[in-house]
């Protein structure tokens, strides 16, 4: 039989389009990426979002302020506590309510615990994206300990809804301080294991160093915040620039790296876990006495005007923009979600890399899809 040999030279190779998602393990949710490929090289990425769009901003227009807090849990479910805090701080600012130091300190400790557990989950799924399945078990094992602390004090494990306008839903559990201190002691010993397992791995270095570089100018222009932006040297930590709660009374450093590649985004998050533990240790032993909530009016009405509150979630800057017309429900609420903005840079930094690198880059941006769609 005659054998047919078909030669396809590089010029004759055509671009073809494949669909990544919405059900793809490495997109961490219902994100659909339409990827144009030439061979294995990514030429263009078009994110299609909206699979989990619930219209939270529209819903907010017909409910009251204390009710909004429970919706914000469902945006970035890994930073649930910090999202709650953003709305509460905004309402308290509008009403000019003075909250006690006790509330501020407890909120800060809870925020940092939230940040650690979020980074732990990111670490295990990022390792798994790159083929290190062990990470997944290590990360989830340690995250469970924080969720147990949440459960004891807040009742909820992930969607805590612990904040309410004017303070907290309940006081902390009597064991809270002891358990947090135990956890810090434990995790300080465990965190170097994370480095041994993944950070020093040669295969991991090969797959992350120099991949998906984001320059400082682009990080600012695209508005990339959080650890992803700080890995490019963009000083965007709201905790430093516009301190809220108890962040103005503690010393901590803003994690900044300059390379802006996947590896530095990874290291930035590992460093943030260390820094969060430092913050908690400064506060946990001296939680001031006082009431855990300020008595608010049964129906909260914000004075007419516009209010903006920025907070630093585990993924970047969350902005809550409330326009009030004086009624019990807001006229318009806009959530400036960090993940929505961070997604917009994906095409820019992943272009020209291999499709396997796209998984690494997407993982290093740490996208949470319900926060993108809202």
């Amino acid at each position: 039989m005659e054998e047919k040999v078909i030669n396809i030279g590089p010029d004759e190779q055509q671009e073809y389009v494949i669909n990544m998602g919405p059900q793809h393990p490495s997109t961490h949710g219902v994100l659909r990426l339409v990827v144009s490929l030439k061979g294995e090289i990514v030429k263009n990425i078009e994110p299609h979002i909206g699979y989990i769009h619930r219209g939270i901003e529209k819903m907010c227009e017909s409910i009251t302020y204390p009710q909004i807090i429970h919706l914000t849990d469902r945006m970035d479910y890994l930073s649930a506590h910090i999202n709650n805090e953003a709305v509460c701080l905004n309402v308290e600012k509008a009403l000019e309510v003075d909250i006690s130091d006790r509330i501020k300190v407890i909120r800060t400790i809870m925020s940092e615990l939230t940040r650690i557990q979020s980074h732990q989950l990111w670490w295990c799924s990022f390792g798994m994206d790159l083929g290190g399945l062990t990470c997944f078990f290590y990360g989830l094992r340690d995250r469970e300990k924080i969720l147990d602390i949440f459960e004891e004090t807040c009742g909820g494990r992930m969607l805590v809804s612990y904040n309410c306008p004017g303070g907290l839903m309940y006081d902390i559990h009597p064991d809270f301080q002891k358990r947090v201190k135990d956890f810090i002691k434990y995790f300080r010993k465990i965190l170097p294991e994370y480095d041994q397992l993944l950070s020093g791995n040669v295969i991991f270095h090969e797959r992350s160093k120099g991949i998906g570089k984001l320059s400082l100018e682009d990080a600012i222009s695209y508005g990339i915040t959080g650890p992803s932006g700080r890995a490019s040297g963009f000083s965007c930590d709201v905790r430093k620039h516009e301190p809220y709660s108890a962040y103005d009374r503690i010393t901590f450093k803003e994690i900044l790296h300059t390379e802006g590649d996947t590896y530095s985004r990874y290291i930035a998050r590992i460093d943030e876990m260390w820094e969060s533990m430092n913050i908690i240790e400064q506060l946990i032993d001296n939680i001031p006495e006082g009431p855990f909530a300020v008595k608010m009016k049964p129906v909260i009405k914000l004075p007419e005007g516009e209010y903006y509150q920025r907070v630093e979630t585990a993924r970047g800057e969350l902005g809550v923009y409330i326009i009030s017309d004086g009624n019990k429900n807001p006229y318009r609420v806009k959530f400036r979600s960090p993940n929505f903005v961070n997604l917009s840079v994906l095409n820019h930094i992943a272009k020209g890399f291999k499709i396997a690198d796209l998984v690494a880059i997407g993982g290093s941006l740490d996208l949470v899809i319900p926060d993108i769609d809202r």
Binding site: I49, G50, H53, G55, E57, K58, M59, S62, D218, I220, S221, Y222, G223, T225, F234, S235, C236, H241, G305, E306, Y307, Y308, R310, E317, G319, Y321, I323, R332, K334, R336, F340, V341, L343, S344, H348, D373
Partner: protein, 151 residues
């Protein structure tokens, strides 16, 4: 720059703009025709350098449709709020700022999707969350047929 200096700075760019000192930020209202040139000045002027557009929100004011830009300078850490509005509800059109701040690309697509504001010179203005059969849900006159959202 503090709030007073910012107000004077805006006046030095354009005398006619309406400047309001809000509780938090300085708010400037600009007609749509002058939006693009003001945005460019704000980013490029050496003493201002508003290089970080951290929030862009479309708002339905009832009569008008508008867009609110929250700008910050990463060098000086000052903040300004730019507001613009158009009374044309049928075909609302505003200039896109996505070539000045790249982050505006996605934000403007969101505003188009949920409020139906068209942005002139936007590189890729398609709907983002919803498909073409939907109306514009964040408008106040939106009628929800399925009746999920009730007041």
């Amino acid at each position: 720059m503090d709030k007073i200096q910012l107000g004077e700075f805006i006046k030095s760019i354009n005398q006619d703009l309406e400047i309001r000192e809000g509780k938090q930020y300085v708010e400037v209202t600009v007609p749509p025709s002058k939006l693009y040139s003001l945005a460019k000045e704000l980013r490029d002027r050496k003493e201002a350098q508003f290089d970080f557009l951290y929030c862009l929100s479309g708002v339905d004011y009832g009569q008008d449709l508008g867009v609110v830009y929250h700008l910050r300078s990463t060098i000086f850490d000052h903040v300004i709020v730019i507001k613009t509005r158009t009374s044309d509800r049928e075909h609302p059109q505003l200039d896109s700022v996505s070539d000045i701040w790249k982050t505006a690309d996605f934000h403007e697509r969101e505003a188009f999707d949920l409020l139906g504001i068209r942005f002139i010179n936007h590189p890729d203005l398609r709907r983002l969350f919803l498909d073409n059969s939907w109306g514009y849900p964040l408008r106040k006159d939106y009628v929800d047929d399925i009746n999920i959202v009730t007041k």
